[in-house]
Point group: C2
Chain length 143, copies 2
Amino acid sequence: MVSNSSKYAIKGVLFLALHSNEENKIAVKDISEPINVPQAYIAKLLQELSRENIISSTRGPKGGFYLSEENKNQPIINILKIIDGEKRLTSCMLSLEKCNEDKPCPLHKILSASRKEILKNFERKTINDLVFDMKKGNSFLPL
Amino acid sequence: MVSNSSKYAIKGVLFLALHSNEENKIAVKDISEPINVPQAYIAKLLQELSRENIISSTRGPKGGFYLSEENKNQPIINILKIIDGEKRLTSCMLSLEKCNEDKPCPLHKILSASRKEILKNFERKTINDLVFDMKKGNSFLPL
DNA sequence: TCTTAAATATGATTTTTATCATATTATAAT
DNA sequence: ATTATAATATGATAAAAATCATATTTAAGA
Ligand code: FES
Ligand code: FES
């Protein structure tokens, strides 16, 4: 449902949301360790997100990755769409292709309500929302 | 959340549930096409399920795979446990390891209710339940 | 303008997952 | 008993995902 890469990407973005801003960019070498993701791997993912304007970056000395306020107000799903692509989230649980409401597979009824709920949450929860939770001590960026 | 292999396995098992019984076994060559899974692939999966007594089989002429009544009364999760292993279903959405209620990751709150619901359904819905749905025309074994 | 520190682009390697192939073993029917 | 037909065990190959490596480009600061 969500790939390894997307998990890493979310961790990276949340770390940036928590510790960076326009004036305080973070280099990839300072991100990988705290979020426990190999440096070259998270680098590639962040580059991809930056290219698609999900996060921000500048090169050179004092450069690095960061989140603008606009970036922080995006829903989580934007990250998933870039890293995993649309269909990973909407594919049928049995046929691997699009989930079909009209001719549902045997698992559809069992799962679709929950799946929709998850989707909806990815669509409406923003990065800021999650940061708020963390700051309140309700959730934690894990090892 | 659930692998390709598990999806194939479920399709295979449901096909057997629908078309086989102790007196009418089905050879793997007659399964692969209708469920649209490569023959050698579904063969391997069914063999694995048979070894773990999730489904039944006999060799030789008139042999094949089938589901006993006992087999049909199992919950779907038994298939997933064999093919994917336990942790695939219970791993945290961010850290790849076990989901931790006490020190939840930022996605935990958003997802855990839905995930639990899905789990619960896999645990309580039996193969027979799904067959019943199909026979009533409420769901379909897809392409 | 030169040096340095960072992202970027690109691609190679490794690991995992998916797929294919086949020799061996068991069993039913002749 | 012999033959044919099926699963079983085992492992090989292919494709995809994860991981690693590096030369190039950009921008800041001396
Ligand atoms: S049709 Fe299979 S999950 Fe909707
Ligand atoms: S899903 Fe991450 S801790 Fe539960």
